[in-house]
Symmetry: none
Subunit: 191 residues, 4 copies
DNA sequence: TATGAATGAGCATTCATTCAT
DNA sequence: AATGAATGAATGCTCATTCAT
């Protein structure tokens, strides 16, 4: 189906080139459809972009939710969240890159706002999980949102840095390092 | 002097609009010079951008170096690094945003490479300080580079999240939260 | 029936937006049919437009013919023609606007020619009536065609001007003014 | 100078093809300049069009004003106005065509409004002259505006009709016919 | 040093039309 | 008789860059 071909091509190109350097011609060529077809399925470049980002965020959220279960301890949940995010950020690093970096300027304000809300929701979702586990800890509501945001920034930056390196280290080492950095703070005791 | 007017205008506009949305016309108008003058002083948009980013990174580095002194303990240095970065990221958040986000795509590859090197140097510089303080700790060289990168990502994301909020919390609370998150891991004991 | 729905939609939109600003998509949407259906019933946009204009001119002609009767004096006929045209131009001003303005450019030449002929026929028809009444007057054949054309231009422009005004004057005043202007010239002695 | 070449080309093409069928590419080609040059001198197609129409209306007005003198009788002035308009409409018929027909749809509303005001001013100017000469006559203020509008419509349509004909009649005959039609109504006595 | 008119490749978008079903 | 997904040429516009002065 044309629509899916377009979405796949757009993810690929937006990731590689960013929003502004990706032209609708590029996308059409990559998707092997005529340029007009893009506009049959999407109202414009902005909507196409929004679709991809929205899908991406929802996918991330559901992947994370899938590994969390009610019967897990708070500590297990925190460990799983960190682990799953590293895994997702490595696997979908191009999509992640779109979601975190391309969302600031030069895109229609209303689209930006809707996506911003989605991202805030996602952080609130993570923050909720952290808070739950730490009701008896030092972190309170507002703190935990900053922590959640910072945690994502940390994992993303580390993963990006890892990817850029010429494969000199293993994924396990990345997990270890991030865990060693992050868990001591998130978990009340231990490091 | 025209050149300085151009640089000031470019910083302002690149920060506000990003690389692609800032046009040479905009910069010329903001600097109150004719468009041709830009090309008299810089070979093109890319070089102008590179100049600004290079200046920015050097400024950050020297600001951080200025607060570090030989007679400080490792712990003091780590605390100062974190504190100073929060301060700088809040103050120069637009410039920071350029440095971290606008540098991935759509700029001439050679420029990108040079700037990438500068950034790597900066991370190596931070990593060096961390390593020094932890020669007796668990972190080793490769770990500390990831940590340095992750630390910057964390601080930047948290600050960005802080800035976006409608002023509901104080800067002090931001410092406290980030410290509470980061220091337990970086410093051998304590939280 | 689809065809009628299409014609109705097309009249409405061509009148409101003109030929070029009316898209086949618009027409299909307004008519509640699929886009392909337009091309089932009409060979293209041009033919659809021609159908509407032809229908419109024929309608005008028959409306005018309906008020003219053999037993009327020449003066009566002239008065009726003027009066009826004002009435029609006010009622169908959007259609009139298409017929007089949209027919000069940007439409396939052969369509343009056929419609042009229709318009010339209409003017000849009016001219014939005027001539008949003035066989004993000063106006001769070629004069009366110019007069007929001019008369239509005058009535249209006046009506358009009247319509654009914020309802400050009555239709009666419009009739009076146009009559006061036009009849003295058309009728041998005053009006 | 490029700007003049562009204006000349635009007048020619807008007249021949109308607003929508004239592309900026066409204009650039006709003017022998690069496409970008159009946008260096004009903000867009709309402004280019507005410039031409505004210039045209002002030119017409000043040409008409130039033949009117204080010491002329009202009758002389009316005769001169009619005569001058016929002359102008024949000479600048393409420009006239733009001014009267292309101003209804599909052009930015604000441009349309400004041009509409200019046209209304022009009609008010003519209406003023007519009124002055008829202070003792039957026409009053609102009447004279309609008359002015209608007069222009009449002259334009007649001239257009004249132009379309295969040169079978002389300009003198056109003047005579229009005068014979128009003067009886405008001038209190006589024909 | 500095200017600004001119350029032309590139871009997002529109839209009449086709065709397999 | 009717559909709607797909097309691709055309269009208005942007913008980094050049160059004669």
């Amino acid at each position: 189906m044309s629509k899916n071909k377009i979405i796949d091509a757009a993810i690929k190109l937006f990731s590689k080139l960013g929003y502004h350097r990706t032209s609708m011609d590029d996308i059409a060529a990559e998707a092997n459809v005529a340029k007009g077809t893009l506009y049959y399925h999407f109202s414009g470049k902005g909507e196409l972009f929004e679709t991809i980002v929205t899908n991406g965020i929802n996918m991330l959220k559901s992947e994370v939710q899938n590994v969390l279960r009610e019967d897990q301890s708070a500590e297990q949940q925190v460990r799983l969240i960190v682990q799953k995010h590293i895994e997702l950020f490595l696997r979908y690093n191009e999509l992640i890159h779109i979601i975190s970096n391309e969302l600031t300027n030069g895109i229609e304000p209303d689209i930006l706002e809707r996506i911003g809300k989605l991202k805030a929701d996602y952080i609130a979702f993570l923050s909720g999980i952290l808070s739950m586990g730490y009701e008896d800890g030092v972190l309170n509501k507002f703190n935990s949102e900053w922590i959640a945001a910072g945690l994502l920034g940390l994992i993303e930056t580390s993963c990006l840095y890892y990817i850029k390196q010429p494969g000199s280290h293993s994924v396990e080492q990345l997990h270890e390092t991030i865990n060693a950095f992050v868990l001591p703070a998130l978990l009340k005791k231990d490091g």
